[in-house]
Symmetry: D2
Subunit: 387 residues, 4 copies
Amino acid sequence: MRRLRAGMVGGGAGANIGVAHRYAIRLDDRYELVAGVFGSEVEAASAFARGLGLDDERIYADYEQMAAAESERDDGVEIVVVATPNDSHYAIAKAFLVHGISVLCEKPLTTDSASSADLVRVADANGAVLAVAHVYSAYAMVRQAARMVRDGEIGRVRFIDVEHASGWASTLLESTGHKQATWRTDPDVGGKLSVVADLGTHAYHLARYITGLEAVSVSAELNTLVPGRRIVDNAMVQMRWAGAIPGRLWASMAAMGHSHGLRIRIFGDEGNVEWSHQDPDQLVVQDAECRTIILSQGVRSLVEDSNRLSRVGLGHAEGFIEAFANLYGDLADELVARREHRPNTGRELSFPTGVDGLKGLQFIEAVGASGDANGAWVNLVGSEREH
Amino acid sequence: MRRLRAGMVGGGAGANIGVAHRYAIRLDDRYELVAGVFGSEVEAASAFARGLGLDDERIYADYEQMAAAESERDDGVEIVVVATPNDSHYAIAKAFLVHGISVLCEKPLTTDSASSADLVRVADANGAVLAVAHVYSAYAMVRQAARMVRDGEIGRVRFIDVEHASGWASTLLESTGHKQATWRTDPDVGGKLSVVADLGTHAYHLARYITGLEAVSVSAELNTLVPGRRIVDNAMVQMRWAGAIPGRLWASMAAMGHSHGLRIRIFGDEGNVEWSHQDPDQLVVQDAECRTIILSQGVRSLVEDSNRLSRVGLGHAEGFIEAFANLYGDLADELVARREHRPNTGRELSFPTGVDGLKGLQFIEAVGASGDANGAWVNLVGSEREH
Amino acid sequence: MRRLRAGMVGGGAGANIGVAHRYAIRLDDRYELVAGVFGSEVEAASAFARGLGLDDERIYADYEQMAAAESERDDGVEIVVVATPNDSHYAIAKAFLVHGISVLCEKPLTTDSASSADLVRVADANGAVLAVAHVYSAYAMVRQAARMVRDGEIGRVRFIDVEHASGWASTLLESTGHKQATWRTDPDVGGKLSVVADLGTHAYHLARYITGLEAVSVSAELNTLVPGRRIVDNAMVQMRWAGAIPGRLWASMAAMGHSHGLRIRIFGDEGNVEWSHQDPDQLVVQDAECRTIILSQGVRSLVEDSNRLSRVGLGHAEGFIEAFANLYGDLADELVARREHRPNTGRELSFPTGVDGLKGLQFIEAVGASGDANGAWVNLVGSEREH
Amino acid sequence: MRRLRAGMVGGGAGANIGVAHRYAIRLDDRYELVAGVFGSEVEAASAFARGLGLDDERIYADYEQMAAAESERDDGVEIVVVATPNDSHYAIAKAFLVHGISVLCEKPLTTDSASSADLVRVADANGAVLAVAHVYSAYAMVRQAARMVRDGEIGRVRFIDVEHASGWASTLLESTGHKQATWRTDPDVGGKLSVVADLGTHAYHLARYITGLEAVSVSAELNTLVPGRRIVDNAMVQMRWAGAIPGRLWASMAAMGHSHGLRIRIFGDEGNVEWSHQDPDQLVVQDAECRTIILSQGVRSLVEDSNRLSRVGLGHAEGFIEAFANLYGDLADELVARREHRPNTGRELSFPTGVDGLKGLQFIEAVGASGDANGAWVNLVGSEREH
């Protein structure tokens, strides 16, 4: 089958996330990277792009040029990955969406919910797919968790506890010239609520994805744990989910000693499930007898949503790159279905969309409003309509 | 050395906690149980007490009788364990304290901070020891954690996360005639904030004990997760500790699938420590390199506060009974020192006192006030003075 | 109920194992320690015994004196604990057994199988109980494992893997004056096969206890890992069990980094179970789907053989002292039944007897013979008869 | 840089291992798959190859044809992956090696040591690289372990314990038409010592790789655990390594409940390390204090041999595919260096070579000879020379 033509904006030399996207693209061989913008220094960016095998004519100086040129080509890109700092997502994504070119955007989708909503509208209006890189929802065992929780295997959900408490910026990294730390701790680029946008939205999406539920309101306490830092690097959030289900969310980039720190527990009235990014190929279930059952990726009795994502079988760990490739795989299913003018698989559990990105922004804004109001409960925009 | 003469009120037939106290009393052989009140049904209670080896004349019908009689004897009890439902602690404890008889009281100390403060005063005025059974602080590895955190081995504390999320009452146990569930879910006996009083105070004390810090204010969300229940069975609390340190506390008796669920993590600016009651003889440390170091009870390089509590050496697990006996041991050191009119050991880390019990009540009350005020931040009484 | 009158030979000042016995004796309050021999230095031994609450007249200078005197008393000891170095077990145990006084002997029962067989005969002939302190079989979760394996819950046993690989003597401790290391590494006291006698017999008994099977033959490789040591401190054994089931056993006192190191895995044709002394209140089961199920002490769905041994309930860890007390409890059931001339409980899973001790000696001897024969397969004495 | 031209023999439709090779090839983009033989059914094999993007003219009917044609082309393959059943490895590998075309062969290298030695000679004589797919040695944390052990961080090695105890064929899978089980349990294809060849050689190589030591002799016990099976499916091996170091190896394909089951522990006189394929991105170290230190992939303080293999950074798990790609990466370094007539990197820790494959065969043969001789100790061929 013909591979999907992909382009990339951002993620050039030195950008970890660009590397991860390209590993994911290559793994299952369903895309070919044919065009891109990889930085503002033309020489270096071009050399970098050539190293990726791009033709010179499809190495662009900026995204506007790329969008204009690619939308004119018969063999133009069908999907563009946006992996730039947060404050540029909106303009870049929109530039492609208006031409009907699909976009996979890094999170947070934009810097405010209005612009995110605009992207959702533009994508729909132009028949383009808008996806957001909440990659954690693509782990096989997260899919297993989602299926089990949504199908009632732990009974009715009664408590949701999620944390993305990383230690990556536990010191004043931004004072050392660390590239990612520099822009993420710049209020004008990463936003004042940086940790909520960067990590909190992952945690929030994961909770939504596994439970199939939406949050109604939040009460937040925002902190800057590292002296000298200009943004919020730690956020505690108490939540009320639909159905009057209480929950908590903790986002931190200063949890010293933690490497990554994404972990979720869902309690039902018949048991609970726990998934941790530290052992991503496991799902831990506890039943009403207080027995602990560890399910590993590839076990035969898992659900199809999980087993279909196993590449190399039981006992052979798959990791972050494979999860990222799962997201790309689900996205490819959608893109190919559209190309062939047929319905997609109809799976309930698939890739995160622009709507998920928009909800992330609504979450960030509610958290910020609550934090500003000394923890007063703030409704998420749109939550009334749905519940 | 002569053993300490102990009495007990409550903890009769069928009471788990009474059993635990008696195991702890026996283990190190520093006490002899010589008097008690073990229930309101005289026949049964007497039979029970005789089974414990008590002389008939020191088996009492009620605590007043016991306090009157024992305070008159030359060989009267030196310490009384109060293991009755919460609403009777105050009167019972006071009845002995006024006679200068020391008391080890189950938590919560009383049902409101005023009465707890009164007990503290009465104990002091009569030269009696007032201790509270926050037994978790007596685990060898909790002592290790406390020493490390207080000595700065994880740097300056920046975040405190503690939970006592048990699943013991995940269903409507009180409708089945379950004795403990019945009184703990009766607002008039266990209090409307039952889970905060029963489990939350353990978590709160543990955090105070390990860090040596005091909380300043709380923002709480209170829930009843089990339909039909009359009290709060789940509480989420966001906290501000002295020194502007943020923290969280979660207390639940409805965390289905959990057996016990006490766990604490302290993050500093140089690492973190985690202790869980599920593996109580371990302390997990993560350093700035993100290495995880597991320290087990009995390891030679542990601090004296921890190693002195090992009875049977490295590799031989000690559990709840041993921890309880540690508390009794520290209490015995104090009681014997007083008996001998000499100063006690001078250890910083010892048993929880009435002041700790009082602070537990202040915590419960602040949590309740915040919950009633939709999560508004409420200062703990007394917190201004100290910080 | 009247407590059993117990005596003790050995286990005096500085002996860890004596301490453990006395904790176990006290915990459940079914014995009273009334007589003993606690060392050859009369003054010190007497002071020690007085500290234990013994009357002067029942503090003896040697075991012969004690056996003579106690057997004459109406209130003489009913059970004697022998906790001396290996080479004295036989004479001491026999001195009491001939008078019909029961004995709980530390392992190995004696220094050769002939003397062990003699003790078994003498005990039987005199109506005394002979028990051996293979304490690990008394953990609640070992009982759970035994019940499950014997009842076929993992199908037919197909492989047995056990190790007691401790690191306690990983260096030349005996050169530092370390008391236990000194006698255990003296070929004349602990035996040349010291590690097999000390730790290997525990591992061997545990495997027999859980599976209910007997070993037929062994092929052994014996090593001295610590330079300068005079005894075997590491033994690898390949085994053939009844029913042509293969297995392995590894005993080491030089597994540097290990604290205790007892661990067993039993594989059946429908699953496996694993128990480790590091987490003694857990049993790990893996089923044919490769799901891992962790059962914890106190879980309601456990078998009666396990649940009856829980003192303080689910989520409250019990450890080595409690296991030791379990052994004492089962032994007490037997002793009381004999005292009252009624049959005992009829439980299949109970305390280890002299026959178990004898089988331990047969194992040691077969291992030694195989080691001397460069690993040739050597039958265990008695194994032909039984299989 | 120009990608290496790779070919493949075997690993066609339905072959797990072929899938794994191709994932590994794609991940780092240093190879392009341009030629191959993918099965004896021409139609199906061609369709499969076309699906991989091969040109028709380079899809071959058999390996002789492929070797002849590719060796004539200017753009012929530089490396051929051999992923067929064991009994064909020799002929296929030789067909390419004689033309100076490098080979990466699945294990075991051949079916006897003579033919393996011949391949080593042929490769050397023709300037070709011969590599063997012992992929586990390519995990970042195995490299960490190897570096630490070889550099003496656990002191002098004193005991080696390794097992590859899988449960994949715990039932009579071969009777169900399972393709891999069928050939692996056919004595004429997988060999009578199938489990030793398939899994035992992995375990053996891993032990050699981490320690840098060679085995001298073995004493083996061979079993068939699954009734009706025609080959050995369980092997216990006691080993003597160079320097009189004892060790054990257990290979099983019938360890019911295990998924993969590769695990190794190395004990030194200052500590031990343990690596398990179940958590491949961790290395567990225990020191002389009995502290347990868990090192995770990506931790800054790891050695360069480990850190250079991290693709997506600390906290982002990498798994089997990434390890396989590591092997391909090291092999690519060697192939490119040869292409460019310059020395390779000079790393001590790199990919497994034909000599490693040969040593695997020598191990299999010694194990078989010992098993046939009822466990008599048998020297590994070549072991005298080296030690």
